[in-house]
Symmetry: C2
Subunit: 308 residues, 2 copies
């Protein structure tokens, strides 16, 4: 194979109760990338459509991730990468990680599937670090594995694949304001109350139990965030109204996607997810804030091949 | 039914990663209780064998739990209770909760199973509060439900039943030293590092995933405690050696049972659990500390009827 075109999905990290560990994969929102084998070694970013991102390989998330996998494979070839961004950088649904995941997935296909998804996640994290300064996996993992994932540990990397109840749908609204990941991280306290942490880990446990047992009520009851949301929600205008409107429209839960500003809701069935979208829309429609909104099922495959 | 004899098992709370939320039920260790219907209302403790506990109903854990369920049922009768303690009070394997769980289970049988286990847990917690000052459910719930349980929340009470991989065995060693629950609670910090809390909730998530998928490696990898053990282990002599000896003998994990001083290990299969017992024994045999040790499968039923 000399050329492959792939779809690299947006992802939601944290999922209310699981800061830094939980994530899930979206289906309709994502980037497209073309990766082409070249005789010359190295990585060249030849095209970027839809976002203003650096072409220099070492500064580009996809470029760095690509270099990591090619080096690990001791590849005797290089690649050219075209990136068609549909995920806005800084929107909070894993834009940089989609570039990283897409690049490593595509190159692994060209290599003949040398690496497993756990290893691909490691390469993707190298790219992710270019954007956020930290090698984290909470977007890369759901992007590559699909469905819900748990980052059990980063060093050594251990990703746990979780089941996805078939009727779960996500509604995501992206208010077009800028929050830097560094700012969103900086607003968090270094120390937290033990009593709040206990509530949080109880919810991580019950949420995961709910995924295994298709218990939508338990999932709903677990989608709370006692740790991060009280701080970060201050950075997102009208967050509380959006949350209340979502829940009133029937959402199982609603929270900040990653470090924001996107807000996600999870619902049982597409009908409710669409009602939730209308309710969310209504809140921002009354303001000057521009927004993008979409409803999607959970993508259980992760990055996928468009053609090769 | 006028009289029932039941077995009320010992339980292990916290389970390393799940402070205040996780627990499991032991099979061979437990109290026996006889509960007899009386015409007169009220609760009388008529016999206590094996421990020095108060006979006054209002000061007795079983007594208070019994009053709670009788009152809720608006029962037109009372009960006499005989308690045969095999679980040493203060040993850290839910001695008080066994008395409470046993009493409410037995009375519910006499009532014709009026209440479900969730409701019984609430009554049991009233008794538990007599011993510890706090209504907590992390021993009462596994005692009544059996297997592994998650206390998702206390108010409102929400217990999640978790699956029990069939090859799991527990080894429990009880060094006969005294640690008061209040002391064990007092040694804990009010605030904890967010970074440690993240590792802890990742482990709660992966542990529960391991229970659902019978993944013993994942269970082993999740049985760590970054929050409580570093503090409480100071109260238990030779804790670290016991832990290392257990793991070297093949245990999946080893930690403090409840607030201690008992130490539990989980193993895959009874052979390993017995080897772990020998390894644990060896540590305390070299000291002056008296100890009690037992190997047991996980009890998936909870409190059970001996005869009625």
């Amino acid at each position: 194979m000399n050329e492959i075109k792939i779809f690299s999905p947006a992802t939601v990290a944290n999922v209310s109760c699981g800061y830094d560990v939980l994530g899930f994969c979206l289906d309709t929102k994502g980037d497209e990338m073309v990766v082409r084998k070249t005789k010359e070694k190295g990585v060249t970013i030849t095209k970027i459509v839809g976002a203003d991102l650096p072409f220099e390989t070492e500064k580009n998330v996809a470029g760095v991730a690509a270099l990591a996998i090619l080096e690990a494979a001791k590849a005797d070839f290089g690649v050219e990468i075209e990136i068609y961004k549909n995920i806005k950088p800084g929107s909070g649904v894993g834009s940089s990680s989609a570039s990283a995941s897409g690049a490593v997935f595509a190159i692994n296909e060209i290599l003949g599937k040398t690496f497993d998804k756990q290893q691909l996640t490691l390469f993707g994290m190298k790219g992710e670090a270019v954007a956020s300064g930290v090698e984290h996996a909470d977007n890369v993992a759901p992007g590559l594995f699909g469905g819900f994932t748990l980052v059990k540990s980063v060093d050594p990397l251990k990703i746990v694949e979780l089941p996805t109840p078939s009727e779960l749908y996500a509604t995501v609204i992206h208010p077009q304001i800028e929050i830097k990941t560094s700012e969103a991280r900086g607003i968090l306290p270094v120390k937290i109350e033990l009593s709040s942490a206990i509530k949080q880990w109880a919810n991580v446990g019950s949420f995961i139990s709910g995924l295994y047992t298709n218990d939508y009520d338990l999932i709903a009851d677990s989608l709370h965030d006692y740790i991060v949301e009280p701080h970060r929600s201050q950075l997102i205008p009208h967050f509380k109204e959006i949350r209340i409107a979502s829940l009133n429209a029937g959402a199982l839960g609603c929270g900040i996607s990653g470090s924001g500003p996107s807000i996600f809701s999870l619902s049982k069935g597409s009908d409710i997810a669409n009602k939730v979208a209308n309710a969310m829309k209504e809140v921002y429609s009354k303001t000057d804030i521009k927004f993008d909104i979409y409803v999607t099922k959970i993508n259980t495959d992760g990055v996928r091949i468009i053609n090769k």
